[in-house]
Symmetry: C2
Subunit: 480 residues, 2 copies
């Protein structure tokens, strides 16, 4: 029954050999997710879903602290509503699923399964808003959305995913802009503090912005294979939707006005990011902040006097403070268990055997550094707390180093193309601001402008591609 | 701007005049919910959604304590999967929404929006299960479902609703039966301890059971208008689905077996129950366990020296312990606020004015009894805790009395018909066990058998309707 380490390691394709296969192996073998009978739709298994629950709990608290409340809007949106904002329908119509029949009856108007909820929410906001006293509207929704994708990968691009979408209304442009950036900052802090995932934050180019937005802001993370992941976006929607949906209020002077509008969202895609930022050839490596199991206890020679009892005692002691697992399964050897929990990315393993018990100690193994240390039984709780904190910090540090290593400054087209081909990653370069130039780079290299970062550096005066004057620095990358 | 009490009270139709209108007035005027542009679909506004969040938090904890983990399965189910279990498809096919197009393409096989997830989950369980060592499977899903309803009412019957659905697999029939009843008991405890809603628990007749179930168990609550609400169901599905979906495992003797299967669910319908069990002509009356705001502080003559500051201080003191609101809006009078928060069912109101401040006290007003008391400033936190507990208890007690008052024992058809017409409620009566008899009672009176309760009483020897021998006592009622 027991498998040895070799078998386990062989099951995951090394990322250097085939990154896409490595990703697929990891998500399948660690039981995060499974493919469903519906093409492009995933089943999120409990180990993956528990990560999402931990992300949700943290973000929901942050949303509430910043004054937002949750609501729930209908799954299905009438076609006529979707069509009210011109850019929006153009962007989304090609990728929506259409409900045409209810029971045996054909519907008079077909309904789309929400790809995002601006339109249905705006139709309600128009009913609810009457006075400046009602503003701001600060609401969020946790839900599922459907976008009919041709080519899918679990977590990264699926026809259905789970997410949150915030939708707010404000009296002034400035307030809406402040909200847009405030929520982007909540996202950045979630990525860095909870997911240990460093991100570059900035504005999308007009070509890359959300369908119907005035401006889109984004956080972009870099994966192990040098590709970028758009990990969260926050949109200043201006008055595009509020005019199209005739949302009006009486302002402080008694005049009718259209409010300013934002929306912002992150999704289960974040889990894909965690995998590809922290994972290695042994499998997952999870930041303690979101790990479903923060520490696992593995008894060794468990049948020998008192080992199982000691393990159970430690488990009871630590359970109130940390997300714990006691692996006392009899059909597997300790070595098999070590490998399984390493593959599943549990940040800390606590080993206890007869000799440890004699010396009143345990062995602590860190998944991030693969280092072991001993710890006296009386200190276990404190030490586990310290190590989880250290692991969280170290994972962020390691991810920063990885990203910096894969970030290049480029001044000429030839170098750009070589890097994108040979050692892809973030490329910082000046940009002329011309959409045609942006388009050509994409067509020729597959790389897109990920964002115009808030933190600008003056790398030169001209665009590396068209030699026209360039005033903005941008981040290019191939992206998921 | 300020409205007086009269206006407020007039806005809610008294329940004695028109119960359905009372319900509609309450849900609309208390901002729990709104109608959406999609017929039969509701928007759950933040005050209603917060109740659902509190229910979710409690139940999710109970599910996890009883060994269950959460997963997420696809929203869309291929028609061929839905058709695998004969009774199930017959029960659900007439009320599902069908997706026929993805983007511009017509789908080769149409997909239904899940009305419940037995079929898609069984198709995955068939992949995952191989050995008795894998059992039991104890998984739950929080999600939205769609059932195409002709006639809808917010929370009670809507084309989309939110719920949880547990789906478990077991080695033996007995274990599945134990699970079925264990989860029904978690539901009962949730209803009684959290929602202060007394319930009758028992088994559904075959006519009323879930499509595809071996046996369905239910909890039934009684509303103010004497109609019953099916508030949660737990199904022993036997091997119906596991055979249809070819779910098999190798048992302890090495033989291939089909496991035994359960499913169980409660939904946002519970919120409708809370409204109709505790509400009165002033509006909602919420049990502290699920109230989005447990206590609201209303400063009186707030501009006078120190009142606002004192109110803010109490707010800060109580906030860590209770769900608090400080209503310091300047555009409304205290009287207007009193009425609004009473209507919204906030269990406790804390009033503080200049005279209270002089005497270092506050006034505490209970929504359930409409009683006031004074409390010294130094005791507020403790007293609020005590009163919230007392309110929770009293609401359950009051609801029990109401239910008992509306529960009748009946031995003859004439009395039965008179009660169902004049003073509807639960009717306890003996039942012959004949489906035709059950059907006739429904056709002639509109009442159905709500359940065969676990707590049996021998009321007689014959069925009041057909005079045949009767061994079981049942609860009849008209129902939502």
């Amino acid at each position: 029954m027991a498998k040895n380490q070799k078998q386990f390691v062989e099951e995951i394709t090394p990322m250097e050999v085939d990154f896409a296969q490595w990703y697929t192996d990891v998500i399948k073998k660690t039981d995060l997710v499974d493919y469903s009978p519906v093409k492009g739709f995933m089943v999120i298994k409990h180990y993956g879903y528990a990560i999402w629950e931990n992300i949700q709990a943290y973000m929901d608290r942050r949303f509430k602290e910043t004054g937002h409340k949750n609501m729930y809007f209908p799954l299905l949106i009438p076609e006529s509503l979707l069509q009210k904002e011109a850019e929006h329908v153009e962007g989304f119509a090609p990728e929506v699923a259409w409900v045409t029949h209810g029971g045996d009856e054909e519907l008079a108007e077909r309904l789309c399964v929400r790809p995002t909820s601006e339109t249905i929410i705006c139709s309600m906001y128009a009913k609810w808003l009457s006075s400046y006293r009602d503003l701001p509207f600060l609401y969020n929704q946790w839900c599922n959305v459907v976008r009919w994708e041709k080519s899918t990968r679990p977590f990264l691009r699926t026809s259905e995913f789970l997410w949150q979408e915030g939708h707010t209304l404000h009296e002034t442009y400035d307030e809406a802009q402040e909200e847009t950036l405030k929520m982007l900052n909540v996202y950045r802090e979630t990525a860095e503090n909870l997911l240990a995932m460093p991100v570059v934050v900035g504005r999308k180019t007009d070509r890359e912005k959300f369908a119907g937005a005035y401006a889109t802001y984004t956080m972009e993370a870099l994966m192990h294979d040098g590709k970028a992941l758009q990990a969260g976006t926050s949109h200043n929607l201006g008055q595009h939707f509020t005019k199209a949906f005739e949302i009006e209020y009486q302002d402080r002077e008694g005049k009718q006005q259209h409010p300013y509008h934002t929306s912002w969202g992150v999704s289960t895609r974040l889990i894909g990011g965690i995998i590809m930022v922290h994972g290695d050839n042994r499998g997952l490596s999870l930041p303690p902040g979101i790990a479903p199991i923060q520490a696992v206890i593995v008894p060794i020679a468990a049948h020998k006097g008192g080992v199982n009892e000691a393990a159970a005692k430690i488990f009871e002691e630590l359970k109130p403070a940390f997300r714990m697992e006691l692996d006392d399964r009899e059909q597997y050897s300790p070595g098999w268990k070590f490998n399984e929990w390493e593959m599943k990315g549990v940040p800390l393993r606590i080993e206890i055997g007869p000799r440890d018990l004699e010396q009143e100690q345990v062995v602590l193994f860190r998944r991030d550094t693969l280092e072991k240390e001993t710890c006296s039984l009386s200190q276990v709780k404190q030490r586990v707390g310290e190590l989880l904190e250290a692991i969280q910090k170290n994972l962020l540090e390691k991810a920063r180093e990885m990203r910096d290593q894969k970030t290049h400054v480029v001044h000429d087209e030839e170098t750009f193309k070589r890097i994108m081909k040979e050692t892809p990653g973030f490329v910082k370069a000046m940009w002329c601001g011309d959409e045609d130039c942006e388009e050509r780079v994409k067509a020729e290299t597959g790389a897109t402008i990920r964002c115009i970062p808030f933190e600008q550096e003056k790398l030169g005066d001209t665009c590396p591609f068209c030699a026209k004057p360039a005033e903005q620095m941008v981040y290019y990358a191939k992206a998921y």
